[in-house]
């Protein structure tokens, strides 16, 4: 089984972080994984994205051009990547931030008001993690203990106090 994922949004929305959580969950699970960020000027204020691949096989190109799974946290990212998703793909959209939809019927698009949910539940800044929870539920990529293990590896020790809040955000995403 191979999962090819693109996560995209503004710099600061945590797309690189969410990608790392998936990669670490894969690492803990003994899978082959790769994580490739966009780099350069766009990191400083523009759009950021990363390609993540989780597989049972050695990974070829770490650059995902046709993501079967897409997370879009803002409108420019949604518009940039929505047509690269192949038929049968799954798209996770923060509908609090993305004000457009797609006409495509050959893919499953999940519109989750993640930013709103985050602020209602005292989880400001965790829209990415809420949407990650939704992604895990709908794709079956990792279950809760696996994604928890990924979070533990991704969150640096000096921010360990944020672990529980992140786990709660995953759970919130999974229940939506």
């Amino acid at each position: 089984m191979t999962y090819e994922i693109v996560l995209a949004g503004f710099g600061g929305q945590g797309v690189l972080f969410a990608g790392k959580v998936i990669a670490y969950a894969g690492l803990v699970d003994g899978k082959e994984v790769s994580w490739l960020p966009s780099y350069g000027p766009e990191m400083r204020g523009g759009t950021a994205n990363c390609s993540v691949c989780v597989s049972d096989e050695p990974i070829g190109s770490p650059l995902i051009l046709e993501p079967a799974i897409l997370m879009a946290l803002n409108t420019p990212s949604f518009e940039k990547f929505i047509d690269t998703v192949p038929a049968g793909g799954k798209v996770f959209v923060d509908s609090s931030m993305v004000d457009v939809t797609t006409d495509r019927t050959d893919i499953d698009v999940f519109y989750v008001p993640a930013t709103e949910l985050a602020s209602q539940n005292g989880m400001n800044g965790m829209a990415n993690i809420i949407l990650l929870g939704k992604m895990m539920k709908e794709t079956g990529m990792f279950d809760l203990p696996q994604i928890e293990a990924g979070l533990k590896k991704t969150i640096p020790p000096r921010k360990a106090n944020l672990l529980d809040a992140n786990i709660n955000a995953i759970k919130l995403g999974m229940s939506n």
């Binding site: 790769s34 350069g40 770490p62």
Partner: protein, 351 residues
């Protein structure tokens, strides 16, 4: 051994430290920055030195100075910065000093771009400075290989008293992959030639690349080429994948080889007899390995992130005995598996 997830640049930096690198001199440039940043954080605590120089030119000359004293030393840069270092690299090669140089390639020429490229192949393998000389050039294709080759590069640079380069690219530097660190022995070796102070015990050592007498200079160069001949026989390294019965052998190195491997797998699913030949050293070029890998091939296809540079070495390696075709993207564009597959089909691989 524990698997951890690291960026290629950081894994390489960590491995260099474990291999006994005592000094690092650098200058900021994208996309190699993480190497400097990692070593700036860790070198001092490991009993080493990190110093940001005023330019790439100064950095490579600091490498020359530290290498002269016999310690293991490294610098890293990206394409435009390597051009600036080329003067110093020529002096280092002419002075028979070991060091490790990292090139995390980006698009060129000129300031070019910052996305991945392999357009410095000619520079690395044929023209890394003025004069007759070579440097060992390793071409890793994964984060794990970034670790493995840097350890090897230090060992071989010391063994042959010459610079070793790691020719990586923006993908390998920036991507994270699982990596394990083997038991690495921090070595330095005995260097009786080093200029570290004679303590009044031996004749004074001189580190020098100047020979005003043509016959003396010629001998020094010819002696170095004797060494290169031995290196060509023993150090050339490559991976052959599904080449045994391959009718079309795709040749690619570094990150491009990963894309090409996916393509070869797709071609096999279509019933096309394709194989991948991946040089792990590009100087010396693994000519014998390629002759063996392509013995049943009708066509060879060089795939590069450039306008076609390694293709010259491929033609030379097989003495132009078979058609060698080319497919490449340049300027920071990464070839897609599908477009490589289209090329394979176009070349008649579908028969």
């Amino acid at each position: 051994m524990e698997r951890s997830l690291m960026k290629g640049n950081e894994a390489l930096a960590e491995a260099a430290m474990r291999a006994g690198c005592k000094c690092f001199f650098g200058y900021p440039i994208t996309p190699q920055t993480e190497i400097s940043a990692y070593l700036a954080k860790k070198m001092a605590a490991n009993g080493g030195l990190f110093l940001q120089a005023e330019s790439e030119v100064a950095a490579i000359n600091m490498v020359l100075g530290a290498a002269s004293t016999g310690v293991r030393v490294m610098t890293s840069s990206s394409s435009p910065g390597i051009s600036l270092k080329s003067e110093g690299i020529s002096y280092i090669a002419g002075s028979d000093l070991p060091c490790v140089i990292i090139n995390v390639q980006r698009g060129g020429p000129g300031l070019g771009g910052i996305q991945p490229s392999q357009a410095d192949y000619w520079q690395a393998t044929k023209g890394l400075g003025h004069g007759d000389f070579h440097v060992l050039v390793y071409a890793p294709a994964s984060v794990q290989e970034m670790v493995d080759v840097v350890v090897k590069a230090f060992d071989k640079a010391d063994e042959y008293r010459m610079p070793a380069m790691i020719l990586a690219d923006g993908i390998l530097g920036q991507m994270m992959e699982p990596v394990t660190f083997p038991e690495i022995e921090a070595k330095n070796g005995d260097k009786p030639w080093a200029a570290d102070g004679h303590k009044n015990k031996r004749e004074h050592n001189i580190i020098n690349s100047l020979y005003l007498q043509p016959d003396v200079l010629e001998k020094s160069v010819v002696d170095r080429y004797e060494k290169y001949k031995k290196i060509e026989e023993t150090e050339a390294d490559a991976e052959s994948y599904l080449c045994e019965d391959a009718e079309i052998v795709v040749c690619a190195f570094g990150a491009t080889a990963r894309v090409a491997k996916s393509t070869v797998n797709q071609a096999r699913e279509k019933g096309i007899k394709a194989g991948l030949f991946r040089p792990k050293t590009v100087w010396p070029f693994p000519a014998k390995q390629l002759q063996e890998a392509s013995k049943n091939a009708k066509t060879l296809l060089s795939v590069e992130m450039s306008m076609g540079q390694m293709i010259d070495d491929i033609k030379l390696a097989i003495n132009c005995s078979k058609p060698v075709e080319f497919f490449g993207r340049t300027g920071g564009v990464i070839p897609k598996p599908t477009e490589i597959l289209d090329e394979i089909v176009r070349l008649g691989g579908a028969k």
